[in-house]
């Protein structure tokens, strides 16, 4: 089963990299971008097809390693 864990910075946490990217987009002349926040995407293959078990496993993976929950939120998506 394929799954995706998306990790994003919590609101209120300063994101200097996102700010730099935002500035670069503006300097490319791409008007209309009001803000950029950088995050991470993990594409993960899970053994078996038990969706509840897979979701639980991925939550553990995110809590224990993939995200630092002091500054980051995460979302788990099972892609089927």
């Amino acid at each position: 089963m394929k799954a995706r864990v998306t990790v994003t910075l919590k609101s209120g946490i300063l994101d200097p990299q996102g700010k730099a990217i935002e500035g670069a987009l503006r300097s490319l002349g791409l008007a209309g971008v009001s803000s950029v926040r950088q995050g991470k995407v993990f594409d993960i293959e899970i053994e078996g097809d038990d969706r509840a078990q897979a979701e639980e496993l991925l939550k553990q993976a995110a809590d224990k390693l993939l995200a630092n929950t002091v500054i980051e939120n995460y979302r788990v998506d099972l892609l089927g």
Binding site: I13, L14, P16, Q17, A20, K64, L65, L66, N68, V70, I71
Partner: protein, 233 residues
């Protein structure tokens, strides 16, 4: 003072640290590989040195913080053992839950590699008894992610409990945003845990201990530790 210096893949300041420990304590530190599950017996100090463990993959210090030796370090710290965590070591200690907060990308995005000035906020800790409270010391720093952040409650608790040990300041000791090199909250450069036995700091005191190389302001930290341990013995 017998110290153990942890070694992770990608760490590169462990030999500077070992040299300083040997020079000031007179004892050769034990180098402990990250896959070990136990610390050497009879040690007085664990040092988590600087470098780029696991190439800073995922988040600085995140992977090293989950290595087998860190369970032993958490146990050692929980029993009151002294832990000094410098630079990448500070990042590892935060990721390992030994200290609160996170070290984010420097506010101005640049890797900073130069001497900076620190105000020593307290002299009544095992790590800072070699200094006077309020003293300004000059030490090198070398990091891209040293911007200390924690939630407002944690910052208030750290400040209220006097757990901010080092702050980035101007050479005369004044708080000045221009000298808060990485944009850390409240110019925080080093903090201690609630029990006072785990210190994390971004700058490198171990690199300013020999007059032949330059300033020796880093000596106080190590000499103070040796003295604190001699008194306890």
């Amino acid at each position: 003072m017998k110290a153990a210096v942890l070694v992770f893949p990608g760490i590169n300041r462990e030999r500077d640290m070992a040299r300083t420990l040997r020079l000031i304590s007179g004892h050769e530190p034990a180098m402990v590989w990250h896959t070990d599950t136990d610390l050497p017996s009879g040690i007085d100090l664990v040092v988590i040195p600087g470098g780029f463990s696991y190439g800073d993959y995922l988040r600085c210090g995140a992977i090293a913080a989950r290595s087998p030796i860190m369970d032993a370090v958490r146990g050692y710290a929980a029993h009151g053992g002294l832990v000094l965590a410098v630079c990448n070591g500070f990042q590892i200690a935060c990721e390992a839950g030994l200290l609160p907060g996170v070290l984010m990308r420097n506010e101005r995005l640049k890797f900073i590699c130069r001497d900076i000035f620190l105000k020593v906020e307290r002299s009544d800790t095992a790590f800072t008894r070699g200094y006077n409270a309020g003293q300004v010391i000059r030490v090198p720093t070398a990091h891209g992610e040293g911007n200390y952040i924690a939630d407002a409650d944690t910052i208030a608790r750290l400040e209220g409990e006097g757990r901010v040990i080092f702050r980035y300041v101007a050479p005369d000791g004044a708080r000045d945003a221009a000298f808060n090199v990485n944009g850390s909250t409240n110019a925080i450069a080093g903090i201690i845990n609630d029990r006072g036995n785990v210190l994390g700091m971004m700058p490198h005191p171990e690199n300013h201990v020999e007059a032949a190389i330059g300033p020796t302001d880093g000596r106080g930290l190590f000499a103070g530790l040796v003295e604190a341990l001699d008194r306890a013995a």
